[in-house]
Structure formats: C-alpha cells, structure tokens
C-alpha cells in the first residue's frame, strides 16, 4: 500500500485513534529567513499500536528529527504530535519529561547507559527516577529476553557493545512504555549483536505487544519491521509493508540514499 501524504485532509478535529503516536502536518524549521531548512515539511504519519515501524531515508531527510519530535525530545515549528491522545505540543517542559519517563522508551545508537550505574540499575532507571517500584516479574522477563541475567551487576564499561545495547533495549521496555523509539540501535554493532537486538525488538512487538519506531539506514535492519516508511526532504515519500531487505534496498537506491 502506498499513500501519498498530500492526499490527507487537514485534521480540524482529532478523533480518538488506535495509533500509539501520530505526527500531523509536522513542520520543523531550522534557522530563519532565506537560510531556513525544512527538516520536516508538513509531514503526517501514524504508528499503530503493536507494530514495529522502520523509518528510512537519506541523510538530512528528517528521519531523526521526526523521531526526536515524536519522543518529546524536540518540538515542532508547527503541526501536532500526539502520543496516544495527548498533544505533546500542549505540554510543559515538566510534563514532557514525565512523558519521556513514563510513556516512552529509548534506544540510542551509542552511549545509552549511565556509566556509574550497574546494568540492572540502568534497566530500572526510569522507574527509579519516577520513584515507582518496578514490576519485578516483568523486569525479570525482559532481562531474560535480552539474555542479561549474568551481567546484571556489571558496569557499562565491563559490557560488550552488544550487551550495552541489549541493556538499553531492556531499559526501554522495563517501564512498559506505550511506545519505544530506537535511533539507529544497531549502527555501532557487529552483525551478530545487531541481529540479537533486532530479534529482541521483534519479540517485544509480537510477544509483549509493544509498539516500536526505529530509525535506520540499514535495509537489513529495516526488513525486521512490519512496515517501512521512507522519508525524503522532510516528507513521507513511500511506505511498504512486510518487505524484504532487497526490496527496501532498491527503494532506497531510488531515493538516492
């Protein structure tokens, strides 16, 4: 299924949605006047609950900006971001922090862990910050899923790159967030470790019913997703469902990425 973003009507009234997150007419401008750059250029997209979406696009296409805005790390110039039914644009800095802590999970490309905390402490960090008790049974399940049981008391500098990313993935899941955002989670890993992470994310969606949005430029990684969204120049230019790495690779080549 291919959807042209420009055919969507403008949303005047937002009806309740099954989407875990939505961006509507999202515009993000960097700079001002003649030198202004549209990182997001009136983009609209939805991420359904219980799905694994990969966002692809050449460098500068706006994919990271979209992820940051969806995650409440950055704000739009105009348009709306909804997390469930909550309009992030209407939230204060404090409320955004709470959203990130309680409703969103993160996996970055690198430097995902706090060096002074053990793996176990890193996994439960968002809950510790919230001052809430982690659901021990759930955390145990997550830790077993990423196969970290015997590394729990280790500090990040005692973990391999793959173990570090798995710890980050476990943290992203541990607080049962509504949605998990991953920014090139396999970018710094060897292929075996990368595969482990991707398989885990897939399990998180299929077995645990989580929602994941992942930015990547690796077609192989994107092929693990249910759906691939292609971005160019701040707009969605294509969308594919359940595709192979080769198809994605071909599509990317046509985008010039």
């Amino acid at each position: 299924m291919t959807v042209d973003a420009s055919t969507f009507p403008p949303y005047l009234h937002v009806p309740p949605s099954r989407a875990a997150a939505r961006a509507i007419d999202a515009v993000k401008l960097y700079g001002a006047g003649d030198t202004a750059v549209h990182a997001l250029d009136g983009l609209t997209v939805e991420f359904e609950r219980g799905t694994f979406t990969a966002i692809m696009g050449p460098s500068g296409s706006g994919k990271s900006t979209l992820l940051h805005c969806l995650a409440g790390l950055d704000t739009l110039t105009s348009g709306n971001i909804f997390l469930g039914d909550e309009d992030l644009g209407a939230l204060s800095e404090k409320e955004l922090t709470r959203v990130r802590r309680d409703r969103v999970g993160f996996v970055f490309q690198a430097f995902n862990l706090i060096p002074t905390l053990t793996a176990a402490e890193n996994v439960t960090l968002p809950m510790s910050l919230a001052g809430t008790k982690p659901d021990a049974e759930w955390v145990d399940r997550v830790i077993d899923a990423v196969n970290l049981r015997d590394r729990l008391s280790h500090r990040p500098n005692e973990l391999s790159g793959g173990q570090q990313q798995r710890t980050a993935a476990a943290r992203a899941l541990a607080s049962r967030p509504e949605i998990i955002f991953a920014d090139e989670p396999t970018g710094n890993l060897d292929s075996k470790s990368g595969l482990e992470i991707l398989e885990f994310m897939r399990r998180a969606v299929k077995e645990f019913g989580r929602t994941i949005v992942m930015v990547t430029h690796d077609a192989g990684a994107a092929s693990h997703a249910d759906r691939v969204v292609f971005l160019a120049d701040g707009k969605i230019v294509d969308e594919m469902l359940d595709v192979s790495a080769t198809e994605i690779f071909d599509r990317m080549k046509r985008l010039g990425g």
Binding site: L73, K94, T97, R101, T116, L117, L125, P126
Partner: protein
Amino acid sequence: MWHATLKGLLAHRWRLLRTASAVALGVGFLAGTLIFTDTMGKKIDDIFTTSSSGIDVQVRAKTEFTDLTGTAANASPVPESVLPLVERVEGVDRAWGSVWGYAQMLDKNGKPIQPPGPPTLGGSWEPSTIRITTGRPPRWQNETAIDDATARKYGFSVGDRITVLFQGPSATFLISGIFEMPDSYMGATIATFSLETAQRVLNRQGSFDAIAVRADPGISETELARRVAAVLPLGFEAVSQTSATSEAKQALDETMGIFRTALLVFALVALFVGAFIIFNTFSILVAQRTRELGLLRAVGASRAQITASVLIEAVVVGLIASAIGIVVGLLLAYGIVALLSSTGLSTSSLRFAPRTAAAAALAGVLVTVVSALMPARRATQVPPIVAIGGTFVERAGSIRRRVVLGSAVTAAGVAALLAGLFGAVGRPLVAVGVGALCVFLGVAMLSALIARPLAALVGAPFSRAFGQAAYLGRQNSMRNPRRTASTAAALMIGVGLVGFVTITAASIKESVRKSIDETMAADFMLEPQSVSGYGTGVNPELASRLRATPGIGLVSQVRVGQWGLDGELQVLTALDPLTFSKIVSLEPRWRDSLARLSDEGVLVSPTAAEEHGWKVGDQIQMQFPSGTQSMRIDGLFEWEGSSASYTITLPAYERIYPQQTDTMVGVLPEAGWTPAEVRGQIGRVLADFPTVKLEDKQQFTAARMKHVDTLLAFITALLFLSIVIALLGIANTLALSIFERTRELGLLRAVGMSRAQLRSMVRWEAIIIGVIGALLGLAVGVFFGWVLVRAMRDQGVTEFAFPAGRLALYVLLAAVAGVIASVLPARRAAKLNILEAIAFE
C-alpha cells in the same frame, strides 16, 4: 604552540576566570594586608612628623625595660620639684608638666562614650601641641576642653556641662573649649583639664608623667637635651623629641609588624587552599584533553612543548589571578580603612607600594605554576596512540607510590609539628607552620585512596532517604576518587583550622572554668570594666571603702606589675598573703609559701625557679621602673588564676611602684548576710566607681571566656576566606565534571530525569564532597587541637574539650556550603539542551 594555547584559553574565558579567582582571593588577601599595613604605617609616619611640633625635649623617669603596654601606668612620675630645675636651664623657652590617664566622658543621656578600640583619655592641657578651635583652654578646676570629634558626634558645645568618669569618683565639668583632635590619638576621646585639676582627678598629686620643654629659637633639640640632662637628678633623663618620637614610632611599627605577620599567615593559608584548586583544575583539564594531547604528540609536539603549553596556561591564569587579586586587595584595604574612618580615625589615602604589586604578581604566578607542575608532567605522559582511539592508563605503581609518599609527608609533618610544639627546635612557630602544611598535604594525598569508600559511606544515607537523584550524585562523587579527594582537600584545610581553633578554645575555656571553679573562694570579684589600655586599674580607695561597709567580711586586693629580668619584661602579682588564701583555694604547700612571704621577698613559680636554677633563699635582681632591687626568694608559689611567675606583697608593691591600682579585688560576705544583700551593699559603693564591675563566680568565669570567644570569632572570620575559596574549588570541579558528562546528562534527561532531579543530583555530589572535606578537616583539626592542648598543659590548659555539637554543626555547614557551591553548575547542567547534549563529543 603558543598560539594554540592562547587561543584555547580565550575560548574558555569563563573557565579561565573561575580558575583564576581561586588564587585571586588569596592574592587579594595578601595584597590587602600589605596595602592596609603600608597605609597604616604611612599614617604612623605622618602622625609622628606632624604632632611633635612645639616640643623639643622631654624629661621623664628612666626605665630599664620596655613597657609592653605602652601605657604610662607603671612609669615613674617626675616630681614637681624637677620643673624649676628645668625652667632655669639656659635656652629653655618654656617647660610644663603633663599628666595623662583614664577619663571617660558620658554622653547627654549619661551613657559612657566608648570608641571601639582606641582609649578614652584625660590629661593636662598641652599649651603648644593642642590647637583650640572654639572657646578657650580649661583654666579653672570645674572646666574641661574636649576634642572636636567627640563634641561633633555627641552634640556638645562650649558652655555645656559634661560628666567624666575617672578611676576615682566621677565629676561634672563645664566645657570651656573645643580643640582640634591631633591625629596622633588615632580615634581616642580626649578631655583636658588644667594641670592641677588633671593631677587631682587622675590621682597624680605632686607629680607629672613627664615634663615637656620648648627651646629658645636657635637652640637645637640635642643641645637642649644635653643641657637639661645636666641639671636632672639621678633616675631621670632628657630625651630630644626626635628620639622620643622614633622610640614611640618604633613601638607602633613593631605592633603593626606583628599584626601584618598574623594577617599574612592567613593570606598564606588562603593561597595554599587556592593551590589545591589550581592543581585540581589543571589535572581535570589535562584529563579532559587527553585526546587533544595525544594528537599534538602524534603530529610531532615534543614533551617539552606539551609541558610548556600547560605551564603557559598556568602563567596566564596566575597573571590574571594577580591582577584580580590586586584589585580585590585594594578594595579590601579601602573597606577596612573606610571602616576605621567611620569609627573616628582619620586616615590618609591608600598606599600601594611597588613591592605590593611585585609580591602579588609573584604569589599569583608562583602558586599557579607550582600547582600546575604535576598535571603538566602527567600531560607529557599521554602517548600519541590516544589520538586514534587508544586508551591512556596510568602506571599501576601510582597507588603504592601515593601511599608511600602520602604517609611520608604526613609523618614528616607530624614530626615537625611535635618538634615545634614540644620545644625541640630553634624556631618553633616555623616548625609548627611547616608541619601543619605537610600534614594537610599528606592527608590530601592519602585521602584519594579512601575517597571512594568514604563517598559511598557519606552518600549512603542520602541515597537511601532521597531517592535516585541522591543515588546518582553519590555514584558521581565515587567515580573519580582523586578528583573528589583533592576538591574536598581544599575545604579540609579551612575546616581543619577552624576545627582546631574551636577545640583549642573550648579546651582553654574548659580549663579556665574548671580552675576558677576549683580555686575561686571569694563570693564576689571586682574588676575594671575595660581590659585594655588606660583604665585597667581599680582605685585602691574602693577597697578601703568596702572594708568600712557593713555586710562585707573580707576584702583582698591583687595588683599586677611589670619588671625586668636582665632587661627582659616580666610580670608579677602583688597580694596580701593573709587574706589571699581566703579568696582563692590553694594547695597547702602554696599556702605555706604565702605564709613565709616577707615584704622584702618574692615567691617564684616552680617553672621559673627550674629554668633559672634558683633555690629558696637566693637573691634575685629585679629591675623596676624606680630602679633595681635585690629580692630574696622566700619560696615557691603558683596560682592557676594568674600566668605571672612572681609574687610579692602589697606593701612591697607600694614601696616599688609609683602608681597604685588594683587589678582584682575579692570580697567575702560577713557572716549572717545573704549574697543578695552583700551585692546591694557593694553596688552602693560602686556608684562612685563607675569603671569597676562586680562579678560573682559565674560572671567572673564568663568574663574570662569572653576573650577566648572573641579571639575564636576573629580567627574563624579570617579563615572564612579559605573556606570561600574551597567553595569556588567545588564549584569549579563540578562545572568541569558536568562539561565532561554532557552526554550522560543528556541521556538522563532523555529517559525522564527532570531538571529539578538533575540539579538535585549535582547538589548531592557537592554535598558529599563538602561533607568529606569537613570530615577530613575535623580529623586533622582534632589531632592538631589535641596536640596543642597537650603542649599547653604547662600553661594551665589541663582539659581537652571535644565540642561535639559545634563540630557536628561544621559538618552541617559544609553540606550547606556544598549546596551553595553547586547552585551555578547545577543550573547550567539543568539548562543543557537534550539533543545537543546527546550529540556532544
């Protein structure tokens, strides 16, 4: 290399300024001290060149030792009969006697006028040195002329009545004139009277303190002095005004010198604390720059060039610190001088000697460069491979080396300290200072080894009670124990010294309290109100009046005198052997000694006897103002209430000393009278002696504690600057650490840490560093205090007090200080843009 270094410095202007300020405050203290003491020195010079006009020669009694207090109280008087002898000398234009002493004016509400520090003086009218501005000089016995500063401040004018307190009964006068305050009195209040009146109210009938002589035109000072000396009886001397002035000036200069040295010691402490901060800052900067240094090495920079790049930065920081320090010093000196002027002391403009600039520049640069030497050396050890991702691990031997070196330095410090305190070296103060310095250095080195467990321990209750932010703060304080330790060490010095003086003061107070408690048998003690300068005595008439008062059973007087032993100043007490043991509890052997004391004898302390090898029955030569006398040692005696090693009887004192004033009068009630009744009886007599205060045991004790507390407060205030500098150090370390942890902070914010939590995390790290500093400081301070108290056992400090509450308060204050230090770094950390922080390299 130069270019790159300077460019780098400019890029971090704020960091540069922050680093420099740590040294700048110490330099400022140094410069301020020099500027202030120079200004006061200049002031002293001015006074002695302007005030002496009109007098050419002074006639006075000879003294064989220098009077420490500089008061005339113990100088022999010049009999009136000498004046005609002087007047008849060829070349004398005019000669007049003068007397000076304690006189305190009351303001219009009847409150005594007390300048803060300078004395309240009364004296005879000096015809040629004082210039009247309104009215005329005092002529009759009911007249006075007062200084214009007092007149202006308290609204007195010619024709008003004014009451003046003396050691004896007070009296009311008519103001006949107001005179211009001579600069030489430096803020004192002055009431002058006709000579006869002054002699009467100041209790100097028939004598003068000195005779002033003015020469006929054409006669030189020295010539006149020679001629006058020729007619003087034995025991008197004629001194030219120039040499009298230089003597007085020398005494003042010496006092100023002692004052300057004391302040400089505190400036040194502040610089020492600053050195720690420089060391720490440069260590962190070198660590943060490891990559860059590796790159420089990779592209061919030599080790010498690396060293130079670090040291150039140190020199720049030092120069900036010196420049700021000089400005701070000027402001400090200006502030103090302004404060002094506001108390009535007219002051000249600030004196900024080239020497001050040189000292400030040298101190700033030297402290900075020396502190940066070690970090510079570490910088040269970075291998080029680091540039391309290799890691730089310091040699494993460094921990063992640290243990050995730290222990050695600490041990050497303790040894020097003990040697200084227990008298095994020639210059004990230097030994003590160097020893203390080494102990601080050694403990700072060793503390890096225990900083991690210490931070864990200190932080544990916080993280348990205050959640994740406190936990993360604790983890941060543990991650780089060396950095935490040397940051805390800067605070350790200030807290250590404050803790040390606190313990010492508490021990002295406890010893005094215990000794008074055990020895004071009198129900009441009478003492002079003021303790310094003029008016230190109680008129003996008070004791006679009390003896005649109903309800009073026993009155015992104690006097203090100065004398010389081979020209060295000594102090003695004079007492009445019969009644003294009734007002003071004494050991039986000392009571026996007292019973044997004759009017021609002296009792010496066992310490003095041992020191000079005296035995009971020996004759010793005591140099009194009135001449040397041979006194027989009648026995050994000491008394905890007095530090004087020599004791004579009151009749002996009356024979020897011209002035009779009591230092202390003990009173016992008559049987059948209650303390309250006796207090009332004494109070009625005291109405005529307004300068005397009445104290019971508690009040007497409290009065002695007050001095100790004042000194403690003064020293603590001077050490406060060192603590402020240490706070700058904490702030600096935090700022540098935050810079280093930018990405981590971004991540924390991304996964849901609020700004408040982030600030709180930084705050907890600061609190933990502060508390560690305080704990290390108190450990050192308690040790210093204990050693000093042991060393002062012979001086009567028998108790070791451990004021736990007060010391705990210091730890709490250190925590608060940490909070203050963390405000700016924490705010900066909380302001970080999350996305930029995450992308930060």
